[in-house]
Subunit: 142 residues, 2 copies
DNA sequence: GTGGTTCCCATTGACGCCCATGGTGGCCCA
DNA sequence: TGGGCCACCATGGGCGTCAATGGGAACCAC
């Protein structure tokens, strides 16, 4: 099953690095993803990551709109201005830059959350809270 | 009849493993399920398990919504972020990870409860209590 | 140079794969 | 119908491998 599933919390070391859970790295490896597209999520206070094909998907959405529309411009502002490419080091860790820290409110620990075709970096407490809130507000599931 | 029925309580060993009742394993074998989809239940403090087709059913529900909506994102947070694939070892045991422990409040024993098309892992006392409460609060049955 | 990266290497604990044991129930056979 | 044998289930533990983490040293840019 080639999806990003589950969640796990890892520590950020003194150099600002954090290990991406091996489960997620395995998914990336299966898709032969070398460079990760990371963007500041549109809904949650979290940074999302996936292979470059997600960026291309976003760009196709913009391409199908009137290039002078406010909508298309706003979307570009988010997916381009709010996005960046990142690489993992030899041990499968990534640098937690201010781009990530500031947007997600992360300090010393990161919760990785699978989202199917991508995964997200959360501040641990924020993730807990949002997930339990979603569970309470559950509507039609099961 | 290919349903998960009855309940049983097994001990977690020193390495954090617990045997899945053979009755449940037999149901899984009949459906040729190799990998189990486990999710943190939406209603009870228990972890549910079933074959991958359940995840696909959940994903179809999400697929029918606007992918940028808060609703769809929250649902994904539960079924993807709150779900994981697990495998049994050669003896039909599964590792009781923190993913399971923390959510269900399990420490040293697990109650397996059949739920028809899936089964659940409960903290024994919590299961007892919830079941007896359900018995009392039963309204429209019979 | 100085600070920030990147590339290695080391450590420790967790996990996966095997094999072993005890206890119970079922089944066969006399 | 009683006894005994056998199969299976729950459980325990050894050991090799890998993941997560820590830290040194080379490297690059300003």
């Amino acid at each position: 099953m080639n999806r990003f599933l589950s969640h796990a919390t890892n520590r950020i070391d003194a150099k600002g690095r954090v290990s991406v859970p091996s489960m997620f790295r395995a998914v990336l490896a299966r898709s032969a993803v070398e460079e990760l597209y990371a963007w500041q999520d549109f809904v949650f206070p979290a940074v999302s990551m996936a292979g470059p094909e997600v960026l291309e998907r976003f760009e196709r959405m913009i391409g199908s709109q009137d290039p002078f529309s406010t909508e298309a411009n706003k979307m570009s502002l988010l997916i381009h201005g709010g996005g960046v490419f990142m690489k993992l080091d030899g041990e499968g860790r990534l640098l937690v830059t201010d781009f990530i820290r500031d947007f997600a409110g992360i300090t010393d620990r990161v919760t990785f959350a699978g989202r199917g075709d991508h995964f997200q970096l959360w501040e641990p407490a924020a993730f807990e809270e949002m997930q339990s809130r979603a569970r309470k507000e559950r509507t039609a599931i099961s």
